[in-house]
Symmetry: C2
Subunit: 140 residues, 2 copies
DNA sequence: GTATGTGCAAACTTTTTGCACTTCG
DNA sequence: CGAAGTGCAAAAAGTTTGCACATAC
């Protein structure tokens, strides 16, 4: 995703384009393994200018509440963030607390077809995500 | 689940049967909406005897690492706990941060059949959970 | 110029830890 | 009795908040 694209997304939501917003958004995309607030802060401090921790949280919050990124949580005790790129699922290894995105349209269709036929009473489905738990093998 | 049953589960894992373990385990089952450590502590302090916060965390940790309960996390910032009763999925409403268990064997079979045919390269699947996001309608 | 965003540090919340004491088996 | 578990209080970790200052538009 190019900078101009990010800029557009911010503008489209009525958010001002500050360098902090840009670099946080960029960081999430580049650090694409579901970074924590701390990962993001470090990344920015390393490659770019300085940024306050409080700002990182405030910006993340505004991006989340504007639907530009998502919060992801694992069994560990920190929040992780995820750019919203596409419908994807998560492969998760509890042992290493490592999350990897998993794309599979066949599954998406299988599920959406199933739930189109059989809804869930008392619940309005917005989207479905798989959390596939297990272990990563060598080649990762 | 009866007390005797809980007792057995503890013994089976080589854990000692302390009143704290029993009441924490019981609390998770009774407070069956994925209670937080704090919910559990309050519940125990109300209905039964006193318990230290540190103990609650220590006991939860031992139950989790012995596979007797599970940690569940939502987008909010506290950890929740879940008795392991059966294969189930979660209906989740981000707005209210409310989680409800969802049982559906048809889906389980659909998925396990699918992944039996088409594995995921580099990943060994242990189990699959659906997180179905959306909104609860009135009758909840 | 003004509403919005940022930096900073202090406060808050949740979870962890260490150690003396207690209890299960 | 001894190993395992608990209470307590202090500390760590993660996140939020308030307010003065800065900046995007």
């Amino acid at each position: 995703m190019k900078l101009a694209e990010i800029r557009n997304k911010l503008v489209a939501k009525g958010l001002r384009v500050s360098p902090q917003r840009l670099s946080i958004f960029e960081a999430i995309i580049k650090l694409n393994n579901h970074p924590t607030a701390d990962d993001i802060a470090e990344f920015i401090k390393k490659d770019h200018s300085n940024i306050a921790t409080g700002t990182v949280y405030k910006v993340l919050e505004s991006l989340v509440s504007n639907g530009l990124i998502k919060k992801v949580k694992t069994e560990r005790d920190v929040m992780r963030y995820d750019a919203i790129l596409d419908i994807h699922h998560h492969l998760y290894c509890a042992e290493s607390d490592f999350i990897k995105d998993y794309y599979n349209n066949e599954i998406n269709e299988l599920l959406s077809e199933y739930f189109k036929k059989n809804g869930i009473p008392g619940f309005e489905i917005e989207d479905i995500k798989l959390q596939i738990n297990g272990k990563f093998l060598q080649e990762d």
